[in-house]
């Protein structure tokens, strides 16, 4: 594939892996990839199986689906089951369990729940169904929030009165802080979220080296991006540096995307606090619609139960999200909690650490069958 294959070149990967091995030496270093997109890439391409044992990757909280608490899913289902509502959602959210089932089950019971790939698709559904109330289930970090904001601006401009947004957008810096504050944390550095950084830039991460003394390298999403970012982290450590660096220079600039940031500021404001799955309430960690856009706020337009549901006791998503335990160390991993019957959200999305590990990983280095990468099969 054009512009992608060059970032998946096995020969270049071998060079990077050798570099990582040499730079890491005989230490054992733990790096957290903050973003679920990285987790997905790491498992999809089998990166863990090619890394030397000296480097361990810990999967962070950056999967937008994984951090939505059960109560919010119940709220979504309540809205979806209101008469005359078309409820639109990204596909991944449809299988996330709330306290009372998931959106797919609501759909099977008769709710009009539709999968969309973009909030603009939801707006289009509203425009062609003027007699229905169309609600978009907005989730995601600063990566997806601008597209929700643009959609809301368009909805207002075109005066689409039957469209509203159930806003669950979250921001990346507060959970990162929460993780860094965690007493059981043992990380040596971070792979910064590339997509979020295309919007917010690299400056917001300065506190990571500045306050907490951990290096951070913003990374792209192809396998070689990740390997190169690991090389950059190792170099920082070996050279005694501790700073924010940018590996994803083809997409990320330090100041971010001023236009996207302006639109975000125009449409959203910070919530005083928001509950994160597994991490609990984090102050100023999520976005809500500004008063100017109150007419498009599904939480105001519909009666949402707003009942907080405690995470299932057996589920250790929180510890997985903080990188305290690996997915397989969770008590219910792979037995009670599987991709088809997820208990925790980490098992739902392909970006979730548990689902990625279950679907793609499930091999330890020693049980991995020996594969010769260039071996012809014909």
């Amino acid at each position: 594939m054009k512009f992608v294959d060059e970032y998946r070149d096995p020969a270049a990967a071998r060079v990077a892996i050798d570099q990582i091995e040499a730079l890491a030496g005989d230490r054992h270093l733990k790096f957290m990839e903050v973003c679920g997109g990285h987790t997905h890439t790491i498992y999809k391409h089998g990166i863990e199986n090619v890394l030397p044992e000296s480097v361990e990757l810990v999967h962070g909280p950056g999967c937008p689906v994984c951090v939505i608490p059960m109560g919010r899913v119940d709220d979504a289902i309540a809205v979806a089951e209101e008469p005359g509502v078309i409820f639109t959602s990204f596909g991944d959210m449809m299988r996330v369990p709330g306290g009372h089932g998931n959106l797919l089950e609501a759909k099977a019971r008769g709710a009009d729940v539709r999968m969309v790939y973009s909030p603009l698709d939801a707006l289009r559904i509203a425009e062609v169904n003027p007699d229905k109330q169309v609600v978009f289930f907005a989730v995601g970090f600063e990566t997806t929030a601008p597209s929700t904001a643009v959609t809301l601006l368009k909805a207002r401009e075109r005066d689409v009165t039957n469209f509203s947004v159930f806003c669950n957008h979250v921001t990346i810096v507060p959970p990162l802080k929460a993780i860094l504050e965690s007493p059981d944390l043992r990380l040596d550095g971070f792979l910064g979220p590339g997509h979020v950084s295309t919007v917010i830039g690299n400056r917001p991460y300065r506190f990571v080296p500045g306050v907490y003394g951990k290096p951070l390298v913003t990374a792209g999403f192809e396998p070689l991006d990740i390997l190169q970012a690991i090389v950059m982290l190792l170099r920082q450590i070996n050279e005694g540096r501790c700073e924010v660096e940018n590996q994803y220079t083809r997409a990320v600039v330090d100041q971010g995307n001023p236009r996207a940031l302006a639109i975000l500021g125009q449409v959203f404001e910070l919530r005083p606090h928001f509950e994160w799955r597994g991490l609990g309430f984090i102050s100023q960690s999520a976005l809500k619609l500004r008063d100017d856009f109150a007419a498009f706020d599904a939480e105001l337009r519909f009666q949402v139960p707003g009942v907080r549901v405690a995470d299932p006791k057996a589920c250790q998503c929180g510890e997985v999200l903080k990188g305290v335990i690996k997915p397989w160390e969770c008590k219910v991993f792979g037995t009670a909690c599987t991709p088809e019957t997820p208990i925790g959200t980490c098992m739902v999305s392909s970006e979730g650490a548990c689902a990625a590990y279950y679907n793609y990983g499930r091999f330890t280095r020693s049980t991995t069958i020996p594969v010769r990468a260039a071996e012809p099969v014909g």
């Binding site: 990166i47 792979g334 990983g361 499930r362 091999f363 049980t367 014909g378």
Partner: protein
């Protein structure tokens, strides 16, 4: 590249806690999926784990017999004369009814013809039942049926019986077609997952993922535009050539719903072998790969309607490949992997990047109603 672990070290090495957990999960996973739902949802029709659970708990449970429990694309039954007949049925609910490269009419014939061909049978006779929504334009029905006739002539089969039902507006989406087909199984032809052995090669007859992506794009709700026609085609002639060139072919399956990944998983489980695929060997159109990358789906799970996966003994792989490539529907055929004995029941993909990963059964339904 990676040095093989020294075998003696492996033997004395006590399993780590992670390995113990993974072993327990493997054992758990190998159990047939259980039906836990109270209501049908779209995943039950997706050909993945939920479908398997539903079929097990509802249909196999009720109809239990040896032929059904083989869980193949069609049944092979013996006549009193000793001749064998293959018998298969398939329902078609594709939306939209017409898409680049074909229509529900083509699918209805090709789907059943191909299911019969995968049993090694020569397809002969087809039945067709139509469920039509009140108000459906007869001109459109004419077109669909003309497509069926065209497909039947091309495949060398006859539509010999049928049925028509009309339901209230809203009770069906335009038209649904169910076809069944019969064909004769030539003496000596016996294809079965149980014949697959370590060392065998896995082949695919051409580019994968075209149909699913074509239909999704034709549906127009993805804001994506790309010129990808469906691959819908009858495979009976290709199978004939393949079996002539590789008479010891072990197993054939057309990777429709659930794609190549699902076929390989079913095979790995049924024969207790590992299927090891090479990502770099998978024939996939750049445009299909690009669309899948954007949609966040894996082309290995995307449906095909004119492709087959074949497992052949290693010493017949070259002639099988040559025979397929000589046929227009197999021009892009490729060897995509091989059968190994370890780890049983698992499909592994050696990524183009040099790593590897598991390719599991599909959960959920990324692309509903594509056939």
């Amino acid at each position: 590249m990676a040095p093989e672990p020294a075998p003696d070290r492996e033997e004395h090495h006590a399993p780590s806690r992670e390995e113990v957990v993974l072993e327990r999960i493997e054992a758990f996973r190998r159990r047939r999926p259980k039906l836990k739902d109270d209501f049908i949802n779209s995943a039950h029709g997706a050909g993945g784990k939920a479908s398997a659970a539903l079929i097990d708990a509802v249909f196999v449970e009720a109809f239990r017999n040896d032929t059904l429990e083989a869980m193949t694309d069609g049944a092979v039954v013996a006549l009193p004369s000793g001749d064998r007949v293959a018998f298969s049925t398939d329902g078609f609910v594709v939306k939209p009814l017409r898409f680049p490269g074909g229509s529900i009419g083509h699918l209805a014939i090709h789907g059943t013809v191909n299911d019969l061909a995968m049993m090694g049978a020569v397809p002969k006779w087809i039945s067709a039942a139509f469920v039509i929504e009140d108000g459906f334009p007869i001109a459109e029905l004419h077109q669909i049926v003309a497509d069926m006739r065209e497909a039947a002539v091309h495949a060398g089969v006859e539509v010999v019986t049928g049925d028509t039902k009309v339901v209230n507006k809203g009770a069906a989406d335009g038209v649904y077609i169910t076809t069944a087909g019969m064909g004769t199984v030539p003496a000596g032809v016996e294809l079965s997952a149980s014949k697959v052995e370590p060392g065998d090669k896995v082949l695919v007859s051409g580019k994968i993922g075209d149909h699913g992506v074509a239909v999704m794009i034709a549906r127009g709700d993805l804001a994506l535009e790309a010129d990808i026609p469906s691959d819908t085609a009858p495979l009976n002639e290709l199978v004939e050539k393949l079996l002539a060139a590789a008479p010891n072919t072990r197993f054939l399956r057309d990777p429709t719903r659930g794609g190549v990944a699902t076929v390989c998983n079913e095979l790995a489980r049924a024969s207790e072998v590992a299927v090891v695929l090479q990502e770099s060997a998978l024939p996939i159109r750049g445009i299909v790969n690009g669309a899948c990358e954007i949609l966040g789906i894996d082309p290995l799970y995307v449906a095909n309607e004119g492709k087959l996966v074949a497992v052949v003994p290693a010493d017949e792989a070259d002639s099988a490949l040559a025979a397929m490539r000589a046929h227009p529907f197999g021009a892009d055929a490729a060897v995509i992997g091989e059968i190994r004995d370890e780890p049983p029941g698992i499909v592994i993909l050696n990524t183009g990047f040099g790593g590897n990963r598991i390719v599991d059964m599909l959960v959920g339904d990324p692309l509903p109603r594509i056939c």
